[in-house]
């Protein structure tokens, strides 16, 4: 305890080595968040290349192979580089402060799990400059397109995925160990803030499925370099097997990207409604149910692979069942707002937009879950619209909401509320102009992943591209707002928001470098 006391008076080291050697959860959280923002911009540039090409029919800017590289890299960078690290960053910053712990349980591993990420993504991005180009087989990398017919850079892609997986697994082990061992006295599981709960469940999902992803890319590696035939029919393997193994990872993965978002929104809505969260227990059980169901619905991505009727029915009904716990959550958020004394600061605007637009994405998900209808929607822009509605105004809006909500706690300064609202409205309008027309494109039959399209799709594609550029460039305003807040601004109080409750708001703003060296007692 004596050394712990001495460290208490240490500030952070200075210079670059502070960031390289740091084991402080706040430093690592900040690095994760900045890294994720950098990847968000990189993935955004890829997306704008796609939307620029699709602005008009015909081939304007890029050749089809490069277009395919863009769709692949956009997906990979956004999923593994932007959304997942952002949530890990939020977990690092907030979980110890929310449960009254001095730091993460395994601080050195925490450092490592962050610092291998830049290497993974440098390796992945470097494939763009390699002979034969970057991976061009889509972020779902279906074999044998990603094995027999892949560009030579696929090996770098495989190692990059291995490193990202290792980073996620270490991050999750750390989060589980922290939550299960370092809670302040009196903080029982059912008193934990929902952000902590959703992250605990997410971490278990990650531990269960990231190794399966590692396994499937390892099989690809063996097929490509060591003459095995896991996915090659010529050698007795089966390409459909790839899809089963991939989606066994892939479906829980989409909940990995949304459950922490549920947690964030469940923190923000009560604060700005000045009411306790309605149905806390049911939120916990709903999250657990969604996590469980995520393991038994994977084949709804594969309705058109020739499954037997019994399989189609099972996966169809299991998928529709997910709407039940998700509905519980949506109703709980709405009921929390009901008769609350609501104020509409930027985090609350993003949170409300999350509830509305995520629900839209959820409904299109239900449409896709209907197996006979899916044969029409499969691999069209309707699917693109669906998963972008749950990921962008879903996961990404919740990350932005979280950033505005906790920025005053992190920096000690209030962000510029007017600019924040301008950012919100630009994003909100941009996102809907961008993705809503894609529903119509898909329903009228425009396939995904094509660089050129039939003339009847021209108008909606043009509208969609306009929205894309509006949304994309609005994010520079977000960067400006965050930088401005870091530099200075109106000083924030400890509680920051009038209705905020929880241990993190008992700490001064900005949160000191070391917090809760002596655990608080939770009544």
């Amino acid at each position: 305890m004596a050394t712990g006391h001495a460290e208490h008076h240490h500030g952070p080291a200075t210079g670059f080595t502070r960031w390289l050697y740091t084991t402080n959860h706040k430093d690592i959280g900040s690095m994760y968040l900045w890294f994720s923002f950098a990847m968000f911009l990189l993935g955004g540039v890829f997306a704008l290349v796609i939307r620029a090409e699709l602005f008009q029919p015909g081939l304007q800017f890029v050749d089809p192979n490069f277009f395919n590289q863009m769709t692949t890299m956009h997906g990979l960078v956004m999923v593994f580089g932007a959304v997942m690290p952002a949530f890990v960053g939020l977990a690092n910053w907030m979980i110890p402060m929310m449960i009254g712990a001095p730091d993460m349980a395994l601080p050195r591993m925490n450092n490592w799990s962050f610092w291998i990420l830049p290497f993974a993504f440098t390796m992945l991005a470097s494939t763009l400059f390699m002979e034969g180009g970057a991976p061009n087989f889509g972020w779902t990398f279906y074999a044998p397109l990603s094995t027999t017919y892949a560009p030579a850079s696929v090996t770098f892609f495989i190692f990059a995925v291995h490193i990202m997986g290792a980073s996620s697994i270490m991050g999750s082990i750390n989060i589980i160990a922290t939550i299960q061992n370092l809670r302040a006295p009196g903080m029982t599981y059912m008193k934990m803030p929902l952000f902590v709960w959703t992250w605990l469940i997410t971490a278990y999902l990650l531990i269960a499925v990231m190794p399966v992803l590692a396994g499937v890319v390892t099989m690809m590696l063996f097929d490509i370099h060591f003459g095995t035939s896991f996915f090659s029919a010529a050698g007795g393997g089966d390409p459909v097997l790839f899809q089963h193994v991939f989606w066994f990872f892939g479906h829980p993965e989409v909940y990995i990207m949304i459950l922490p978002a549920f947690g964030v929104v469940s923190e923000i809505i009560p604060t700005f409604s000045r009411k306790k969260l309605f149905g806390y227990d049911s939120m916990v059980y709903a999250t657990s149910s969604i996590a469980f169901l995520s393991f038994i619905v994977w084949a709804h991505h594969m309705f058109t692979t020739g499954m037997p009727l019994a399989g189609e029915l099972f996966f169809m009904y299991a998928t529709m069942l997910i709407a039940v716990p998700t509905g519980v959550k949506v109703f709980n958020w709405i009921t929390t707002m009901f008769r609350g004394s609501i104020s509409f600061e930027t985090p609350m605007l993003f949170a409300i937009a999350f509830v509305v637009l995520f629900t839209c994405g959820g409904f299109t998900g239900l449409m896709l879950a209907i197996a006979p209808a899916d044969f029409q929607y499969h691999d069209t822009y309707f699917v693109v619209a669906h998963f972008h509605y749950v990921l962008v105004p879903g996961a990404v809006f919740s990350i932005m909401a979280a950033a505005y909500y906790w920025l005053p706690k992190w920096t000690g300064n209030m962000y510029d509320e007017t600019l924040g609202k301008v950012h919100f409205w630009l994003s909100f309008v941009g996102i809907n102009v961008l993705f809503f027309p894609q529903h119509f494109l898909g329903l009228s039959g425009m396939p995904r992943r094509i660089p050129d399209y039939a003339l009847q799709f021209a108008d909606f594609n043009m509208i969609s591209s306009v929205g894309a550029f509006l949304f994309g460039f609005s994010q520079l305003l977000f960067m400006f707002i965050v930088l401005k807040t870091v530099m200075g601004g109106k000083k924030a109080t400890a509680q920051v928001w009038e209705g905020a409750e929880g241990l993190e708001w008992t700490l001064p703003s900005p949160a000191p470098y070391h917090t809760f060296s002596t655990p608080p007692t939770v009544k």
Binding site: A177, P211, V212, G215, P308, G311
Partner: protein, 190 residues
């Protein structure tokens, strides 16, 4: 201090368990490969047919009252240059009766090519009931430049074939495995 020691111990135990879970799930990914095959074989999904079966001649077992049409299809996988087709497009057989048909293959290229045919039966409900006693798909076929071959398939339809199945399609996809086979041979030599 004692409390801190206990805490380190429980963190260590938990991390150990979680690492075991990670290892187990990595293994599970690979276990899905045989599990998938077993599942397909068990349900007959995916049109996967069984391996070589021994036919026990027993004329009393032939169901002459029932006729099943068996159709044949031959497809080259992308990159395969052989001429490949069945010599009969379809035969009408009685369940329990042993039949033989021939497939023709010719290598029109100027190089030695190794081919591997992969069978599939549709509808999948009938896949379990078409038994092959001899098939060129059980082995790789090697054709020198310009060489041609007639390849036999001997099969019988199981008497347990569901009543609503009147037609079975046995289709072969032919893969060029020269590259893989050369690599494997080299690997063994090394």
């Amino acid at each position: 201090m004692a409390a801190a020691g206990n805490q380190n111990l429980s963190v260590g135990r938990l991390v150990g368990k979680l690492l075991l879970t990670v290892a187990a799930m990595f293994g599970f990914g690979f276990a899905m490969v045989p599990l998938y095959d077993v599942f397909c074989e068990w349900t007959g999904l995916n049109g996967k047919t069984g391996g070589q079966v021994v036919y026990e001649a027993d004329t009393a077992d032939i169901d002459l009252a029932r006729a099943v049409t068996v159709q044949f299809s031959a497809t080259n996988n992308a990159g395969m240059a052989w001429e490949f087709r069945p010599l009969q497009n379809q035969v009408v057989v009685h369940p329990g009766e042993l039949n033989e048909v021939k497939f023709y293959a010719r290598n029109p290229t100027a190089a030695r090519v190794i081919g591997q045919a992969v069978p599939s039966v549709s509808p999948s409900a009938g896949a379990d009931f078409l038994h092959k006693t001899e098939c060129f798909c059980f082995n790789q076929q090697v054709l020198e430049a310009g060489e041609s071959i007639e390849m036999p398939v001997r099969f019988f339809v199981d008497k347990a074939l569901p009543d609503d199945v009147h037609k079975l399609t046995l289709s072969y996809t032919l893969f060029d495995v020269t590259q893989n086979f050369a690599e494997t041979a080299q690997g063994i030599a090394n």
